[in-house]
Subunit: 152 residues, 2 copies
């Protein structure tokens, strides 16, 4: 079974290359929380943004378009051990799908100004969903990330 996906938009980011992202993020106290960027939704899909202004946070599902291959075992930036790729957020994954929750600052027609950008310029957007209380989980355990991930 093969599934055909067509991007609904594109990400505009201060990070122009993969290398620009590497040192930020997990290791910093606020990570990417303060990094601003824009989600440009293609005009064809603009009507689908109705009512989105009411939400403070959005789930962005996107495509790691600059990644060319994947591994089932990867070495995360924060760690020196090989981990199963599904236990990480590493981009070298089957289907190269990325996931980030951003804060919505403002909508101007088909452009969403957001904070929390950890994607690179030009990343294709596959879906946008509202973040709700159902997505806040309590008593979570984070395996190998314990002690490495700053719990801001």
């Amino acid at each position: 079974m093969r599934i055909d996906i067509e991007p609904i938009g594109i990400i505009h980011s201060p990070f122009k290359r993969k290398e620009d992202i590497r040192t930020l993020g997990f290791s910093s106290a606020t990570g990417f929380d303060d990094v601003e960027g824009e989600i440009e939704v293609f005009k064809k899909y603009e009507k689908g943004l109705k009512d989105i202004e009411g939400f403070s946070h959005l789930i962005i599902i996107y495509f790691f378009h600059k990644i060319e291959s994947y591994s089932l075992h990867v070495k995360p930036y924060l760690d020196k051990n090989l981990r199963g790729v599904f236990s990480t957020r590493h981009p070298k994954r089957p289907n190269k799908i990325g996931f980030t929750i951003v804060k919505l600052l403002e909508r101007n027609k088909n452009i969403l100004k957001v904070k929390g950008i950890d994607m690179i310029e030009g990343s294709p957007v596959l879906d946008i969903k509202p973040y709700t209380h159902r997505d806040k989980k309590e008593n979570i355990k984070i395996g190998w990330l314990e002690g490495l991930l700053n719990k801001y």
Copy 2:
């Protein structure tokens, strides 16, 4: 630009048809939290599950395979107004990508036993990612869902 996606697994759910899901969920105090099911990762990708046992919650990105079309304005189950599809979790969306956070109960080789299933039997899995503290957002606003969504 078209993106070619190949499922990495399949969801086993007590919900056999779309209609089985409708009345559960948002409206119930615990929603789908107690609904058990399995994520079967195809043998080819099993190695990618290394270290996953350490995480209590997983992000599941999947495909609404029983949905045939999409609308930019949809009527959510909880609401009587038409909403922009990107302001909802409605399955009739461009790219038909679904997103659910489940609780990991147990791993047996390539089978993940989980709680929190709101997908139907046979849904193709596109990606699995660990849920971390970065995914818990504070001071969230939920627009048109305010007052409708049970904030358990």
